[in-house]
Symmetry: C2
Subunit: 177 residues, 2 copies
DNA sequence: CAAAGCTTTTGACCTGCGTCAAAAAAGTCA
DNA sequence: TGACTTTTTTGACGCAGGTCAAAAGCTTTG
């Protein structure tokens, strides 16, 4: 199986639970600790944070995408991120401490954990490069390649903040295409 | 000891080697595979890649900073990055395959490996946020906080490309400060 | 130490994208 | 279905930062 994220539900079956959320519901609220990883089975989630009143999307997770309050999980502090359901969603949930216990008991799965981490890392590297020197239009086109059909599912404002541009600019970019 | 990167030389002593490089020397050339991680003992390194003739710095590593051709290491492909010594440097070198072997033999050190990965990840998250909505000046100030004294050691052009701005703009930003 | 490289600064000019404001369109619900 | 809310589009305008070109400083090396 190619995508390591798809192996998670089976590999960690004994410590994973499945929850459902309604559109608009928060899975986690900024300011609190959160040691849960969320893997989307169906639906769509996003994490976001506030910068001077402005809501900025940090990350999207569509089917078999992973989100979490990374800062809280990795540093043990309260998180700057909130996590929200963009659609009615069913979500696999995985507690990070339980995951570590599980990995101790099943060291053969360290490899999968590492693969997942690397995937997330490379993803970020790519995004960072895009933000470094791509125009608004090019960023948008990149996004469409990585998340085809996202425009039908996520509001323009959320996409714009994710791309680091204003919604007005994104609207104009889209109009011509 | 607070910084996991400082624990690497001891923890992986039996698979690490120490090399020296002269200013300007390449530790790795883009287009080739590279499965080595470089940890700076003294000196300074950077990784960079080309975008339309332009040399873009992807990452700096000063003392106890880590660089590698991440794409090659993680995907096993040839790398888009080159790695260069910015000063005469002494560098710990660690082969990724040997590291995996070592971790199998010493599972107690998986934890350290994971800590290091998380550190790198959070670093990127922070950089990404900075690129998303900070002005040229704010990006520069951020950099100075994270790498104090880097201006005395790295050329303006390299810093500018790392920040995603032109050297002219960086020069002007700096003049006023 | 002079000649040949680099690196940094300065200037003039231009443009992509941000801001503010308001209209238009689409979604939600009693 | 009509009233209200939210999302998207359109317009006018300004500015941060890009581009191009050239001068001024620094380094390196024979």
């Amino acid at each position: 199986m190619q995508n390591p994220l798809r192996q998670i539900p089976e590999a960690f079956a004994d410590i994973i639970s499945l929850q459902t959320y309604r559109k608009g519901q928060l899975l986690h609220r900024a300011g609190q600790r959160c040691h849960t990883l969320f893997l989307v089975k169906t639906g769509a989630l996003r994490s976001f944070y506030l910068v001077e009143e402005r809501d900025v999307t940090a990350h999207f997770a569509l089917e078999y995408g992973l989100v979490g309050a990374v800062d809280s999980i990795m540093k043990g502090t309260s998180s700057r991120y909130s996590i929200e359901a963009l659609e009615d969603s069913t979500v696999y949930e995985l507690n990070y401490a339980e995951l570590e216990g599980h990995l101790n008991r099943h060291p053969g799965q360290e490899r999968l954990a590492r693969q997942v981490t690397q995937l997330l890392y490379l993803d970020l590297v790519e995004r960072l490069e895009g933000m470094t020197f791509l125009s608004a239009r090019a960023r948008y086109e990149h996004l469409l390649e990585r998340y085809p059909g996202i425009t039908q599912r996520v509001s323009l404002g959320h996409i714009a903040s994710y791309l680091g541009i204003t919604q007005e600019t994104l609207s104009r970019v889209r109009r011509q295409g």
